[in-house]
Symmetry: C2
Subunit: 464 residues, 2 copies
């Protein structure tokens, strides 16, 4: 139900704000296994550091897009709409200043965009009269794309239509995308109709009629999003929407809004736009053949190596192959075939071997029947939760850095070489002064990630 009172009350707060910089909501999608072994249940493809930057470091898709937006509009107001599981990684990769609209549960794009709209209004105090651009976080694009986003937002500002979509000029008759049929061939046109993902022959006909790819990129007034959100969801404000999020139905924004909208325009974009959803398309966008330790002999043609392991990969006499290795596994695939990876990966039961956390990262080194050995890296100034385990003892051996451990309330300074033993039930944490690495040996017959009880840490314990 739509709640008119809430809207008009909010409006007065925002009228004093200057409208200047881009508001962008980046939709950061789910896990996906199409880029296994680099993406998995807890790491999405947009966080894989695979693109070489000018200074020789590597950046992820999300870092690349973030950097490109900042280059186009330094003060752009960027909000990432994502799930809880990605928050740590986003802060690790983009810093703490980026706005994140956290979906407490996955409920498809309509609820996610509704939540982000409420977040922008109630938490970031953006005026509902401002326009906002919504786009996926993971396209591989040149800087011209972000200029096009600006133009999209300006077109939305004009109010000629309720929604302005980006229509991407097709480069081949793809079966992977929906198509937008515009009324005219002008740069900005009304939308005549939408077409579902077609087969190649149908796609060719669409393209002959001037159809454009629908990349899920659009601009509109924030008020429009709020209207649609309140129209379909009964909530008062951001906090209320967040609290009731679990009960929402899964529904896409395209289905709930775009396909029903009458006042809708499309703006052409003819620049480079790539969807890096498979190893085949991802490797096309890589500037280097080898990321990580790898050797290609001169009989290799169009072979890519992406190696996150410490040991080298040697490739000889291969053609059109991608090789990727991580602590999760090793993929060797013909590039064309790589798009059919999903059912095979679904069949692999593999413990999570590596994860980034808000406080650092962990890496499983060894798994035995009644023990597990892990390397834990804590970022400077960070700590684990204060926690205990019912069914396992643990031993920490600090291998570098310094900090403090707290074990059952007792604080102790630690540095490389210090050993801390913790029986089951014992509460414990580490606080890193510098970056601190330790080897954790878990011992017990029933080791599980679910065996973890968290506790609040008293202030005295931390500072003593």
């Amino acid at each position: 139900m739509y709640h008119g009172n809430a809207r008009s009350k909010l409006k007065s707060i925002y009228d004093s704000r200057e409208v200047e910089h881009m508001n962008i909501i980046l939709l950061s999608g789910g896990s996906g296994k199409r880029l296994w072994p680099l993406s998995n249940d807890i790491r999405s493809k947009q966080f894989i550091k695979i693109f070489k930057t000018q200074d020789g470091a590597y950046e992820s898709m999300v870092q690349r897009v973030f950097r490109q937006i900042k280059k186009t509009d330094e003060d752009a107001n960027i909000t990432i709409a994502t799930s809880k599981t990605q928050v740590s990684t986003i802060h690790n990769q983009l810093g703490d200043s980026v706005g994140i609209s956290v979906e407490p549960f996955r409920r498809d794009t309509f609820p996610a965009i509704a939540l982000a709209a409420a977040y922008l209004t109630d938490e970031r105090h953006i005026s509902p009269e401002e326009s906002v651009v919504i786009c996926p976080v993971d396209p591989y694009v040149e800087d011209s794309y972000f200029e096009a986003l600006k133009a999209l937002e300006k077109q939305a500002d004009k109010g000629e239509a309720n929604l302005v979509l980006m229509g991407i000029t097709p480069t081949y008759p793809s079966e992977k995308y929906g198509y937008i049929i515009p009324e005219s061939s002008l740069d900005v046109s009304n939308v005549k109709t939408f077409k579902e993902k077609p087969d190649v022959e149908t796609a060719k006909k669409y393209i002959a009629q001037g159809a454009l790819w629908n990349g899920g990129v659009f601009a509109c007034k924030l008020s429009y999003l709020l209207d649609k959100a309140h129209g379909l969801i009964d909530f008062t404000d951001y906090e209320d929407l967040y609290a009731g999020y679990e009960a929402l139905n899964k529904i896409s924004f395209d289905y709930a809004v775009v396909e029903k909208e009458e006042k809708i325009q499309v703006m052409r974009f003819g620049g480079q736009w790539k969807d890096l959803g498979t190893w085949n398309t991802l490797t096309e966008a890589m500037e280097e053949k080898v990321v990580g330790k790898g050797i290609l002999n001169d009989q290799c043609h169009d072979v890519h190596i992406v190696n996150e392991m410490d040991v080298p990969i040697l490739a000889m006499g291969l053609r059109d192959v991608v090789i990727s290795a991580s602590p999760e596994g090793i993929l060797v695939s013909d590039k064309e075939q790589s798009s059919y990876i999903k059912p095979y990966v679904d069949g692999i039961e593999q413990q999570i071997m590596f994860a980034e956390k808000s406080w650092g990262s962990f890496h499983v080194l060894d798994v035995e029947n009644e023990s597990m050995t892990i390397k834990v890296t804590l970022n400077a100034g960070h700590s684990m939760n204060y926690h205990s385990h019912r069914n396992r003892d643990e031993v920490w051996v600090v291998i570098s850095g310094c900090g403090k451990t707290i074990v059952d309330g007792m604080t102790q300074s630690v540095t490389a070489g210090d050993v801390i033993t913790m029986s089951a039930g014992c509460r414990h944490t580490v606080l890193a002064d510098t970056e601190l690495k330790l080897i954790e040996v878990q011992l017990g017959s029933d080791i599980s990630v679910h065996d973890k009880q968290k506790y609040a840490l008293e202030y005295d314990a931390v500072t003593s």
Copy 2:
């Protein structure tokens, strides 16, 4: 110089021995990198467990050959001529009863065979009048090959020639082998001449003339070997030869003896004989496509996976490719190309990540600037050397099994969960009652395998 006195003195000791069973010297060659990442500086290809046996376990080349010899002649007197570095692995794979003639340094086949002949005479008390078969440890052959070895030995017994070679019927004009040209096409013939490894066209001509492959397999009287040894090397007995071994020149038995011998016969062998020196030939001999964790999709043709890692390998849409992964690295190669591997592997600087020892094995889990983490497995009843390190502290966390640690002379019973800390300089060892596994964390700025001082262990310490 030849020492006639030593010979005639020994002869009287042996005359009473019955001559019944085969005497075989198996030459176990050097490291070799052609089967990287499974073979490396410390593990030779003949120890890779890659052949599925009838009971579903896997055996190595050396285990397969050993089992086949025992099947042909249960009481065969088998001696393996090899270097020090292989002794632990040979005992692990073949048990403690196998005879090993240990070359203290690598000096090519003539010194190795001379040393083995002296070992058989002086240490195993074999009569010099008995015949002995010498062959490489790593051919991939059917049982008929071992019947042929018996026949070879019997032919040597006759004394018609000083040396009887096996001549393998060529199956294609190979450039990889030397050729033997026999005087006749009889099963046993005098040798007309030898030919070096030819090109394909020349090989075809040789084969048209009835040439046979020289697989380095021959039989002769033990006395003949001793004569040749004393002829070229100045030594009294086995111990003397062993002690002076480092000073010997590298020279092959073919060059020093075979090519110069006038009284030499060749015996035809037409059975299956494969030299598994490259991934291409090795995978041909594998009964299974996948050894270890691996998945081939149905678009793979003639793809083999040999995976010694704990994580899965997924192969999609490949043809004629071998994939092999070990803690040392990952190879993905077109099978034909795999024979050109050596220079690439020579260029890889990689720490040894896994090794079998006389007491068990170790596996490097993690390497940092000032620490290294290792999993150590001790076989039941075995112990490490009692040792110390100058430049590193160590921490042991026992993760399974039970045994005793001795640290600076103090003995302590240990079991899973026990932690032992050892400062630099401190003497230490573990004795395993059952199989015992521990995580060892090494800490220091100058960690090196060479930093190890060994000590004798007093009896009291072990039994207290």
